[in-house]
């Protein structure tokens, strides 16, 4: 350990206790962000300790990245500087839970699955069906801003986050919002922390609304010969009075993902191959309700599917329902494990532009012989994954050109795209955060207000913030 390294270690050990600081290079490698290792990792136990650590880092001009289960460190640009990993997993307490009021306050490091078990005892849940569900923490889920299939009905964390506590780049513990379900006191600063990759502050505590568990649910699955027909079904459903819980369209080729190991781990039971096979586009939509409502959904969805030209349709329940749900939730990790150079574009467009946007993306990939799969959410968010067979320079150039064209084609009125996941070595070439944004100057003002010296993950966020 260098002298500087020893000083950092001893100060962190003073604050959090020696047993909570890691300096072993092999262990530190597991905290790497884009192959950049920190010189220490510290696991604080309280917001006060975090404030001390941040103050120390700021004084010594060290850069900090808060980490949870470390499942999504690949999102964003490589950090310009990364000295200390702030391992949040010891801040994992349930602060308060009032089932009667359907509100919850938790520390950021609590794993989602643990929280889910606590809520399940009261037949409640959080609609955060996000990738890496079995490992991820609530803090990481919030800071990364990843979405999940339940956003169709419940929206995103932004819609049910009530308040937050966080430590700013000056080591100050602050909060916004509250713990009641309706509140307009002060600025909604907590909204800024969602998807900010921890570049404004370290989230220490999160207050959320909880939701009653759904009564019986089912999934409707329909196969179509073309993307346009599958999107047609999406449009018809959203024009109807049906309020499905989830709504996704899977591209042909997703069936092949089932064959690989990652998919087998996730999918609990097999999904009928007749539906998920060949060159078909698959529309799947979950729905819930009482006996009569379920029957109504089934009848209406079958009718719509037929009118939209479905070649096959089926209603799933039980283990098969769980499998399709897991597929929707864990699509990202599945495709990441399916190629040595998986590059995932997140394309956001108006819902009615999905077919066109996807068609353009497919053209870019296929004209370069790049394998691809896609999952499109009914709300207008498409995950388009390019799955190259290898990660050489020529392939990188192909992916670079394809992704660049896709980013441009999405920037139609109101649309945009980013590349949340790609090989670290490609990040210098690919436009990870998409095209430059006109509102970037307004974001920079916030970064200066929260973290004036750039302590938090410098360089990782939009525009190199």
């Amino acid at each position: 350990m260098s002298t500087a390294g020893a000083t950092v270690w001893s100060r962190l050990a003073d604050i959090a206790g020696p047993s909570n600081v890691i300096s072993d290079p092999a262990k530190l490698a597991t905290f790497a962000i884009d192959d950049k290792k920190p010189s220490a990792s510290v696991s604080p136990q309280s917001a006060a300790e975090i404030a001390e650590i941040v103050k120390f880092a700021r004084k010594e001009k060290l850069a900090i990245a808060a980490t949870g289960a470390r499942t999504k460190l690949g999102i964003g640009l490589p950090p310009r500087q990364y000295d200390i990993s702030l391992d949040m997993t010891r801040l994992d307490r349930l602060v308060s839970y009032d089932p009667g009021d359907l509100t919850l306050s938790v520390e950021a490091g609590i794993p989602l699955h643990k929280l889910t078990a606590i809520l399940a005892e009261h037949r409640q849940f959080l609609p955060l069906a996000v990738p890496y569900f079995d490992r991820t923490t609530i803090g990481g889920t919030t800071a990364s801003g990843v979405d999940g299939p339940l956003r169709q009905l419940y929206g995103t964390a932004r819609d049910y986050l009530l308040g937050m506590e966080f430590v700013t780049g000056e080591g100050i513990l602050a909060k916004s919002g509250g713990r009641v379900v309706k509140n307009v006191t002060g600025y909604d600063i907590h909204k800024l922390m969602i998807g900010a990759l921890g570049t404004l502050g370290v989230i220490t505590r999160i207050n959320l609304k909880t939701f009653p568990m759904l009564s019986s649910s089912r999934a409707f699955v329909a196969a179509f010969q073309t993307l346009e027909r599958a999107c047609g079904m999406r449009n018809r459903v959203s024009q109807s009075h049906l309020a499905p819980v989830t709504m996704e369209i899977f591209s042909p080729g997703v069936a092949n993902l089932f064959a690989n190991g990652a998919a087998k781990q996730i999918a609990l039971a097999s999904i009928p191959e007749t539906i998920f096979s060949g060159a078909r586009w698959v529309f799947t939509s979950g729905f819930a309700g009482n006996h009569n409502a379920l029957a109504r959904y089934e009848t209406d969805l079958r009718k719509i599917a037929e009118e939209c030209g479905a070649v096959d349709a089926i209603v799933l329940e039980g283990p098969q329902l769980a499998s399709t749900f897991a597929l929707k939730r864990e699509f990202i990790p599945m495709v990441l494990s399916s190629s040595p150079a998986t590059t995932i574009l997140k394309m956001s467009v108006l819902p009615r532009q999905m077919a066109e946007a996807l068609t353009a993306a497919i053209r870019e990939a296929e004209s370069r012989h790049l394998p691809w799969v896609a999952m499109a959410r009914g709300v207008g968010v498409i995950y388009f994954a390019i799955l190259p067979a290898e990660s050489g320079e020529a392939t990188k150039q192909q992916v670079f050109q394809a992704s660049d064209n896709i980013l441009s084609s999405c920037s139609a009125p109101g649309g945009h795209a980013t590349i949340p996941w790609c090989p670290s070595a490609w990040k210098n070439a690919l436009k990870v955060w998409g095209l430059p944004r006109a509102d970037f100057a307004q974001m920079l003002k916030l970064k200066k207000a929260f973290d004036p010296d750039g302590v938090f993950s410098p360089g990782r966020f939009v525009g190199g913030i």
Partner: protein, 491 residues
Amino acid sequence: MAWKSTRRNLQRENMDSHAINDLKKLLGADAVLHRPEELLLYEYDGSVEVARPNCVVFPRHTKDVAGIVQIANRYQIPMIGRGAGTGLSGGALARQGGMLLVFSRMNRILEIDVENQRAVVQPGVVNADLSVAVAHSGLHFAPDPSSQKASTIGGNVSENSGGPHTLAYGVTTNHVYSLEAVLPTGELVRLGSSALDSPGYDVPGLFVGSEGTLALITEITVKLTRLPETVKTLLAIFETVDDATETVVDITARGITPAACEMLDGWTIRAVEAYVHAGFPVDCAAVLLLEVDGLREAAEQHAEDVADVCRLHHAREVRVARDARERDLLWKGRKNAFGAVGRLSPTYYVQDGVIPRTKLPQTLRRINEIGEKYGFEIGNIFHAGDGNLHPIILFDAREEKQFQRAVASADEIIGFCIEMGGSITGEHGVGMEKDRLMPLLFTEHDMNLMRRVRDAYNPTGLLNPGKIFPNTKGCGEIHVRPLPVAGVSRA
């Protein structure tokens, strides 16, 4: 600071005639008011506060707003955005004098995209007008403040307004995709996008509900929500307030989320009936106005479930509106309640505290005790389903002592809400009414960070000065008046 002295002068004197001339040149003479008799109307909003502006301007286009901001900066005039002036916390009042920008002429619906369920509107579009405009497509704009027939979407966005149906549909911020705004520095900005998950910080999420202190919003892209297939409206009648509040607690705990769950106490019902004749029984202690909606099969079941819970808690009767006419009448009673109360007293003071829903029974009992202690009638008509109280304190503002006692009793109610783990405002905003209560919820650190965010966009403090933050002296000179501990009486 130079502008501070200018500001003081403004309050006493007429505005610089050069500034008025510049404004008239930009907007035309009919879009600038500055004579004292013209300004009288604009010293009020829906709150109990009064503050007279030095001039009022009516922009027609975004470029007008940008031009006005330039003039305001040139002459160092405070500027305050205003919609219909229905706000309940003084958000659209010129607390320190200056210029009101009234958006009533920027009232065009610019685009309706039925297929993607979005609309682009100017800030002066009246909330209910948008819903009317899209009704034939089976859509509506879901946030429904009681003021919706007058209040503007720009005002709703600034205050992050709620309403009865926000229980199931969410408040205004849940229905805004993107904004165009003029910053107080004169920059025209577009924030967010009509497609979801705009990369970067959620600046629109910050601006919604910032009470007009960060930017003048000139265009709003909103979500349009499909009208439900079936709506069932129920009126549950109770002999005691406790039975009604216990019902709300139980409905929430059972995981039933009605579209709306409103409570009116007996006193308010009698006031409403004398005015609206909505059909509320005048001999009961409280009613719950409950609505469930959605798919026919689901709504019917939910209506039965809700009615069962009401009966379990000794509801004397549960009526179901038979048709749209009956339903509209019940809602008319609810939405006109404040007007009805206005007939009974020279002045009333509406509070907006929020509590966890499990604490409803003891909170209503406490409000009753506080009323008795101060000798006021306090009515209760509120969004019970999300714990958002609206105690109405009747008093005579002509008597200074009564005014002070009304404020003291309101503070005691708010103190109790905070003790219960609640908040000082659920939907009306802090404005100039509750700024002094901010330290009950937030530390100096919390507020300093918020001030820093304000200063990032509003560096000169010329936009809507004297709002949200306690005793703002401008230019960062802040002195917080010490406040008693929450819940301690100040009578």
